[in-house]
Amino acid sequence: MSHTVTALALHGVVKEYPGGVTALRGVSVEIGRGEQVAVVGPSGSGKTTMLTIMGTLERPTAGEVCVGERDLASVSDADLAGLRAHEIGFVFQAFHLQEAMTAVDNVALGMLYTGEPLRQRREAARAALERVGLAHRLDFKPKQLSGGERQRVAIARAIAKRPLIILADEPTGNLDSASGGEVIRLLHDLAEDGATLGLITHDESIASGFARRLQMRDGEIVADVRS
């Protein structure tokens, strides 16, 4: 048994949606702890579906999903939510920040369902915002922030709870290339701390910065390249 510890594993994962759409046709992949993986492929190739299944937002129609070497098939929905609350951080293309909340409270919201008291959550939020270089924007509301800054707040929200896995879906999709590059550098840096990073992109230049790249087409992984 000469493996590094697996953070995420899919075995023969199939996902069909009602109406006969098959988004994934037997995907198998293992991602080790601390690995940084870019997922590339044209739209409709199943990238986002794979991410939702990795992130336990959906269950596969068939196949096996393991997070931290634990098969999720027998895990209840409530426990999957617990897994997301403690172990998985999401970064979305559209940021999804709460307009009425300050940066600190947006980040603290990321830990709401861990059950930690507000004071501790705010403390962790401040630390996370410092980590993403926004120590000077703590009490700003999303409308007062630039696009790149908003995405950094969203990243801080994902990392504040020190998750095992960070999953990002086109995090630079709504950003110009300068702030996009900054966000990607930040994600790389953060993952250096030991978290596993899975990132969807269709930007080859971003993907080329990753040590491992999964190429997807028509619901299958057609190439798994390490450099």
């Binding site: 510890v5 986002t48 991410l51 939702t52 992130g55 937002l57 959906e58 931290g68 070497e69 634990r70 895990v75 929905d77 409530a78 426990d79 939510a81 617990g82 897994l83 997301r84 609350a85 403690h86 172990e87 999401f90 979305f92 293309q93 559209a94 999804h96 709460q98 307009e99 009425a100 909340m101 919201l109 990321g110 709401l112 369902y113 861990t114 059950g115 008291p117 507000l118 929200r157 095992l164 879906d169 999709g173 709504n174």
Partner: protein, 408 residues
């Protein structure tokens, strides 16, 4: 493998939790972002609950007012009247009745009236005999007003003079029919073919309104002129406040020891209290209208919450991605809905209390909102909110957690 498990420091899955304190904060924040809408939908509940509180408050105030009046007149008044025989004929009270009752313990004061059935009263002899105006003629004891707690609107009541001369006192209603508002001077009424001087006009007798349509003369005059027998047609008495029950039990055998079954005893304040209670209940229809307003308010809240769920699909998706369970989502929306309606309930309580205050001030009645309304109004709002929120909350919980990823 246990080895593998040991290698993975965080193999145990943490639990997704949402502490209650955080839940209220979350729900409040959810409402605060849509303030105007929240206020408008809470208003629906406020109007419904306000209407109900006002109805209850106004009727309680009116009832309290009537009860206070009854209390002022005393609830220790008892009446003794002849009952009916087995065959349905009227019994006759013995002419010793009043003297017997006089000698009872715990009877403070008593008065009797004697029906003068063969005389009617008119303003002048020219009035046709059939137009009696519904006015009865009674002989009465001198202390009748004191026993009944009735004041005089004008003049004085019967006294020693009236025992020898034709003097009359009019009940309030009788005075109105005869169009006599003041006694004194030379106001006369034509009573049983004789002119009687009107020496007094009574105020309205709340405890026995039948007295209002009577004209009173003294017993000696009645006996002399109309051959009235001294068998009382009704006896009024005041019992010692603490012994009303025992006095009332002894009245029949005391009045007519030979035939106690032929004596009927009653307590007029009971009837009035029943009327007061009825006054507190005639409002069912208005309460129903308040209920309809509440129902409309509840539907309004359900409607707003459904819209809110549709608008906040991404927020819900985000929360699910952040670790919220279905239950957390549904409880959050239920709490929002319940808070909204409970706030409406409190506002309704204030509205209703305000309306009651205005009513009480204008009618000079005591301001009363029943204590239970203080708890019932917000509680009703809360329950309505929970019920109205059930469907939207379920809808929110069933949304797919991938919403946040799908929307850009």
């Amino acid at each position: 493998m246990s080895v593998a498990a040991a290698e993975v420091p965080r193999a145990r899955i943490g639990i997704a939790r949402l502490p209650v304190r955080e839940l209220f904060g979350t729900a409040l924040a959810g409402l605060a972002t849509r303030r105007l809408r929240a206020v408008l939908s809470a208003l629906g509940i406020a109007i419904g609950i306000g209407a109900m509180v006002a109805v209850v408050g106004v009727s309680s105030s009116a009832q309290a007012n009537l009860l206070a009046e009854i209390d002022a007149l005393g609830t220790n008044l008892l009446t003794v009247t002849p009952g009916q025989t087995f065959l349905g004929d009227n019994e006759v009270l013995p002419d010793t009745s009043l003297a017997m009752i006089d000698h009872m313990q715990n009877v403070d004061n008593d008065a009797a009236i004697y029906q003068v059935s063969n005389a009617n009263v008119y303003r002048t002899p020219l009035v046709p005999a059939a137009q009696t105006g519904g006015i009865g003629v009674d002989a009465a004891s001198d202390n009748l007003p004191r026993v009944m707690g009735v004041g005089l609107a004008s003049g004085r009541f019967l006294g020693a003079v009236a025992d020898r001369y034709p003097e009359a006192v009019l009940g309030a209603q009788a005075a109105q029919v005869l169009q006599i508002s003041h006694a004194g001077g030379h106001v006369l009424v034509y009573l049983g073919n004789t002119w009687f001087t009107v020496v007094g006009v009574l105020k309205s007798a709340l405890l026995d309104s039948t007295l209002d349509s009577d004209v009173f003369i003294s017993l000696p005059v009645a006996e002399r002129m109309f051959a009235v027998k001294p068998n009382p047609s009704e006896i009024y008495l005041r019992a010692n406040v603490n012994d009303v029950g025992s006095v009332s039990g002894l009245l029949a055998p005391t009045t007519d020891p030979q035939n106690p079954d032929g004596v009927q005893v009653s307590r007029p304040s009971n009837a009035l209290e029943a009327r007061a209670a009825a006054k507190g209940q005639f409002t069912t229809l208005l309460l129903g209208l308040g209920g309809v307003a509440l129902l409309v308010g509840a539907i309004g809240i359900a409607n707003i919450m459904v819209i809110s769920v549709l608008e906040r699909r991404t927020e819900i998706g985000l929360r699910r991605a952040l670790g919220a369970t279905r239950r957390h989502i549904s409880v959050q929306f239920l709490t929002e809905s319940a808070m909204l309606a409970a706030i409406g309930g409190v506002a309704g309580l204030l509205l209703g209390a305000g309306a009651t205050e205005v009513y009480a001030l204008t009618k000079h009645e005591p301001f009363i909102v029943p204590l239970y309304a203080l708890i019932a109004a917000p509680a009703a709002g809360f329950v309505i909110g929970v019920v109205a929120g059930l469907y939207p909350a379920g809808k929110a919980a069933r949304l797919s957690p991938t919403e946040a990823l799908r929307s850009t």
